[in-house]
């Protein structure tokens, strides 16, 4: 494969990718379908923002956010059924069960761990140790500005954590498991080794004092933008949307079987962070995964970072590893 030159890089020499918005297929079907799949994303985002901005305090609670999050994802699963991007990414019972297992881990074990060793706890400990006050000026900003900044600062940190995972072997080990997914579906963002799921959730929000409603709106940015990273739905995302926000197209390229393509589009929600640092590539891929698309079992996903790390340590220490005879 010749690949496509993007700046100094050759993308798609190892596996097929599509580069450039003009080369990406549009939604097929009648005018109603075209309308729905063109405007769904912005309408959902602005409707959710308006809801959280004006909801009475008795409704604007984390439990409401969890309910909306579940409802929204069920709706997106319905859209996957109606208008799949690729037939080869169709959700099967086994894929759904696997994905939900990781969603379950996130809501239970990882949340439990975060309660004791998460970034919020660390921020509190640092503030206590150094007698720092919370950054109280933050709470005087308009709610939407607070919400955007919470979301942006988290995504900015996530960008560098994610980029670090692709460039530093000890961090790559837990993250590599996530790159063994071979298709994108709504809950695929949760698939990964629990160590990575914990690391990617770290943020510095604990240093700021903000109105609780702003945190809920920040969560909405993640829900109504970041969720589209992993989804098997074809949208005609408006030009401004795909310039600012991460899309399935961007993230499918990040998951492609082409090594050079995976080193792009690191941000979670705001693709303009990638544009700022020169790592954005506009395009898409259908063939995803590692090792030619080998699907990894849950058991291997749980152990792989540790077994691979152990193998590497033994190699570095000079001990030979038994290799089966050809």
């Amino acid at each position: 494969m010749d690949g496509i030159r993007v700046g100094n890089r050759l993308i798609g020499t190892q596996a097929p990718v599509t580069v450039g918005w003009e080369n990406i297929p549009r939604v097929e079907g009648g005018p109603f379908k075209q309308f729905v799949f063109t405007w769904f994303q912005p309408v959902a985002l602005f409707a959710l923002l308006a809801f959280w901005y004006y909801a009475p305090n008795s409704i604007a609670k984390a439990s409401t956010a969890i309910g909306i999050g579940i409802g929204f994802k069920v709706l997106l699963l319905g859209l996957e059924w109606v208008n799949p991007r690729h037939e080869s990414w169709r959700l099967t019972w086994k894929e759904l069960a696997t994905d939900l297992f990781y969603v379950g881990l996130t809501y239970t074990l990882i949340r439990l761990a975060e309660n004791y060793i998460g970034s919020g706890v660390m921020a509190k400990a640092l503030q206590h140790h150094f007698h720092w006050e919370k950054l109280a000026w933050f709470i005087g900003l308009p709610i939407l500005v607070q919400a955007f900044l919470i979301s942006f600062i988290f995504d900015f940190g996530q960008y560098w954590m994610h980029r670090g995972m692709h460039n530093w072997y000890p961090l790559w080990l837990p993250h590599s498991v996530h790159h063994y997914i071979t298709q994108l579906n709504v809950n695929k963002g949760a698939v990964g080794n629990p160590v990575e799921l914990f690391l990617i959730g770290l943020g510095i929000g604990g240093f700021f004092d903000f109105i609780p409603r702003a945190a809920l709106i920040a969560g909405t940015f993640g829900l109504a933008i970041g969720t589209y990273q992993h989804i098997n739905v074809r949208f005609n995302s408006p030009r401004w949307w795909r310039f600012l926000f991460n899309t399935t197209e961007h993230h499918s390229l990040h998951h492609s079987q082409d090594y050079e393509a995976t080193r792009s589009n690191y941000a979670g929600s705001y693709i303009f962070i990638d544009r700022m640092f020169g790592t954005c590539i506009d395009g898409e891929a259908e063939l995803l995964g590692m090792e030619g698309g080998r699907r990894m079992s849950i058991r291997e996903q749980m152990t792989y970072p540790f077994t691979e790390g152990w193998k590497t340590i033994r190699q570095r220490m000079g001990r030979p590893i038994a290799v089966p005879a050809e």
Partner: protein, 198 residues
């Protein structure tokens, strides 16, 4: 083993299918062979029996949910019949997953009892009323509700609760029932479609 047979329906899917009087065992296995020429699948065929195994099967493999199985063709009074016995670790895992999530829920309760973190202490005590939280003039002009000063913080909802564990136990119990029924139907339809292809 009788004891095992009584419970292995959890992860085994068994069934039989008439393959038509004119079809030999060899013809039938030839027609089914595309199903076993998939990445990560090995199979061997001898006499009237086909044995297959799958490892790291692709997500879109039509039989991805199964890890191995035996297909046998017997000749009965009414003609040749395909008997199949397929096993699935995914079904077994899904059957056991509710127990895992119930255990996690219990662990959450247990850790909550011994939780001495400041956040947990704050939750146990009645929340102090917050002093007036400043509201930006733009938000006032746009009509946003004033910040809650009752002391109940939205973040307080985030304390670890066993409820998600119970919810996911229920989800996986439902998923198992659906999967056990659906996958048995799908594989039967798949075999039938291949065997009856003209």
């Amino acid at each position: 083993m009788i004891g095992r047979r009584a419970i292995d329906w959890i992860w085994h899917v068994r069934g039989s299918l008439d393959i038509g009087p004119t079809q030999s065992a060899e013809d039938a296995f030839n027609r089914l062979s595309p199903l076993f020429r998939q990445a990560g699948t090995s199979h061997e065929c001898s006499n009237n029996t086909l044995i297959f195994r799958k490892k790291n099967q692709a997500a879109q493999d039509r039989m991805a949910v199964f890890d191995g199985g035996i297909l046998q063709i017997d000749t009965s009074m009414s003609g040749p019949v395909l008997h199949y016995d397929l096993n699935s670790r995914a079904l077994l895992f899904c059957f056991l997953a509710p127990l895992l999530f119930l255990a996690i829920a219990q662990l959450t309760i247990l850790t909550g009892k011994f939780d001495t973190t400041p956040a947990a202490q704050a939750i146990k005590q009645p929340a102090p009323k917050k002093p007036g939280i400043p509201m930006n003039a733009i938000d006032k002009a746009l009509g946003a509700p004033a910040p809650d000063t009752s002391g109940k913080d939205a973040a307080q909802d985030k304390k670890p609760s066993p409820t998600p564990g119970y919810v996911f136990a229920g989800i996986f119990a439902a998923l198992y029932v659906i999967g056990r029924w659906l996958e048995a139907r799908l594989v039967r339809a798949l075999f039938r479609a291949h065997l009856l292809v003209s």
